[in-house]
């Protein structure tokens, strides 16, 4: 994708935002991203949205982009709603880049926003007959994946804890993060299980947050805008029939998604300077480090415990704290953070020599996965 870039990013605060609704947060994030890109409103001709969990319940079957587009006064050349769970944000950027490369539009907004803290909808934990068996929520499936990793590789609870501790270490350097207080391993191990082997600190919080990026044709940027970040590679892979797939809960579709993205970008794991990995639960950080090829199978626990993914480590991961500590931004905050790092605008948490970043999205019951490889164009 040599001709497509992320030209602007924007986000609201993260956490409990009194009076917020999903719509208001999405609108705010769109406004911020377009302003950041330095674009005229009329130049934005694409709108892709991820509805979050609260608004679609409230508003029934009305297509999400229709309501949002009306609020934003848009008549775009491309629109759509992405429903890949935590892979939606990365997937929206891919759809936008593909559409732009095909000439369907020029500047496409991709937005996530939800207000589950301040405007909770009726979120149902169990899905279908899973609830009959007592299987509720993504946490149960991720606990099974964690248990399997521990059984196969002797991964320890302390190594899962190291992921949570590292996320907080990054967040202490991130002014807007939801959880900036440091976490130590003792406090982690003293906390109660939610779904064993996962504890409270293994699970990302719910947050009110809106975040958006503008994907643009590289040749159509305003002269005085920020340094664009090039979309160097992308991939997707999904597991839609988990009961038939022996890899389910053992290996993420990240392995396939990553291979596609690395090949497109003509780079490998050793070339990546930083990662923003979707981290709804600590275990998926370990699995992704292995499935993307940053660590050999079973080695990610020791890698994280040794500090390699922390501030100043050999491969900083989730440099603003990720879902676990920056707060839940639907995966779009991961893209926003990668762009800030690759522009050299990440302040105290700036990674030295940040040239190439990998961003992932992982969704539903370990079903969906999407990968972006982003490249700095800053001098």
């Amino acid at each position: 994708m040599p001709d497509t870039v992320i030209s602007g990013v924007g986000a609201t605060p993260v956490g409990k935002l009194a009076g917020a609704t999903a719509w208001s947060l999405q609108a705010q994030a769109c406004r911020a991203a377009v302003a950041d890109a330095g674009l005229e409103l009329a130049a934005v001709d694409g709108l892709l949205a991820e509805p979050g969990y609260t608004q679609p319940v409230i508003d029934g079957i009305t297509p999400h982009y229709l309501r949002l587009g009306e609020m934003l006064g848009m008549s775009p050349n491309l629109c759509g709603t992405e429903v890949l769970g935590g892979a939606s944000s990365v997937s929206m950027v891919q759809r936008a880049a593909n559409a732009i490369a095909a000439g369907l539009c020029t500047h496409c907004l991709c937005v996530y926003g939800d207000a589950p803290v301040s405007a909770p909808g009726t979120f149902e934990y169990g899905r279908g007959d899973d609830a009959t068996h007592g299987l509720f929520g993504a946490v149960g499936l991720h606990a099974m994946a964690a248990r399997l990793h521990m059984e196969r590789y002797r991964t320890t609870e302390a190594q899962l804890g190291a992921v949570a501790v590292t996320a907080r270490a990054h967040a202490t350097l991130t002014p807007h993060a939801q959880f900036r207080e440091p976490l130590n391993l003792e406090a982690y191990l003293d906390s109660a299980y939610v779904v064993e082997p996962l504890r409270k600190y293994d699970c990302c919080p719910v947050s009110d947050c809106g975040a958006a990026v503008v994907v643009s044709a590289a040749r159509q940027l305003p002269a005085d805008g920020p340094a664009p970040v090039r979309i160097a590679g992308m991939g997707q892979a999904h597991c839609l029939a988990p009961m038939l797939d022996a890899r389910h809960l053992r290996q993420l579709p990240a392995a396939r998604s990553g291979a596609t993205a690395f090949a497109m970008a003509s780079v490998g794991p050793a070339d990546i300077d930083l990662c923003e990995l979707y981290d709804c639960f600590t275990i998926v950080v370990l699995m992704q480090l292995e499935d993307y090829g940053f660590c050999r199978p079973g080695a990610a626990g020791a890698f994280v415990a040794a500090g390699e993914t922390g501030p100043g480590g050999s491969l900083p991961v989730n440099t603003a704290g990720g879902l676990l500590a920056e707060g839940y931004g639907g995966g779009m905050l991961h893209i926003v953070e990668a762009v800030r790092q690759l522009r050299g605008e990440a302040g105290d948490r700036q990674v030295d020599e940040a040239r190439l970043g990998l961003v992932s999205g992982h969704g539903l019951g370990l079903n969906t996965h999407a990968t972006l490889i982003l490249a700095s164009t800053a001098a």
Binding site: D129, D130, A131, T132, H133, G134, A143, E196, M243
Partner: protein, 143 residues
């Protein structure tokens, strides 16, 4: 005291749950290619043939992985805490998520042998659960 959720049969899973009501735990099989699977589907997920049938399972399985709930997301499970849900592989091949009835989850291991039991729910439903055959409790759980 609330009751645990009952299955919600739809036209695709109706036969599966109806056979369970009769005490028969079954999986679906393709007459064209022999593939066996759960959950029920309108088409063979391997060859897309529509000529499928339900076959009674012998009720033997092994545990692939599990999760131990310490929180009740539905109050009906509060009295059962901590309780275990596992990914189970039947001896005939199909995999499914199911409750694992187990007094001491710390004894569970990947590969543990499981035996089927049927747990009664409201409205005459029977739900498959699995009981591990654990080394130091072998006699207690033998059929």
């Amino acid at each position: 005291m609330s009751h645990k959720p009952v299955p919600r049969p739809d036209p695709i899973s109706h036969v599966y749950w109806q056979r369970l009501r009769e005490g028969r735990f079954s999986y679906q099989s393709c007459r064209a290619c022999g593939q066996c699977w759960l959950p029920p589907a309108p088409i063979c997920p391997r060859c897309w043939a529509t000529d499928t049938e339900f076959i009674d399972s012998a009720g033997y399985a092994r545990l692939l992985t599990w999760a131990t709930y310490h929180r009740a997301y539905d109050p009906a499970f509060a009295d059962s805490l901590p309780y275990v849900v596992g990914l189970v592989e039947l001896s005939e091949g199909p995999r499914l998520m199911a409750g694992i009835r187990c007094d001491d989850p710390t004894l569970l291991r990947v590969g543990v042998t499981l035996n089927l039991e049927l747990e009664p729910r409201e409205n005459g439903f029977l739900v498959p659960v699995f009981v591990p055959v654990l080394a130091n409790k072998r006699e207690g759980h033998a059929d």
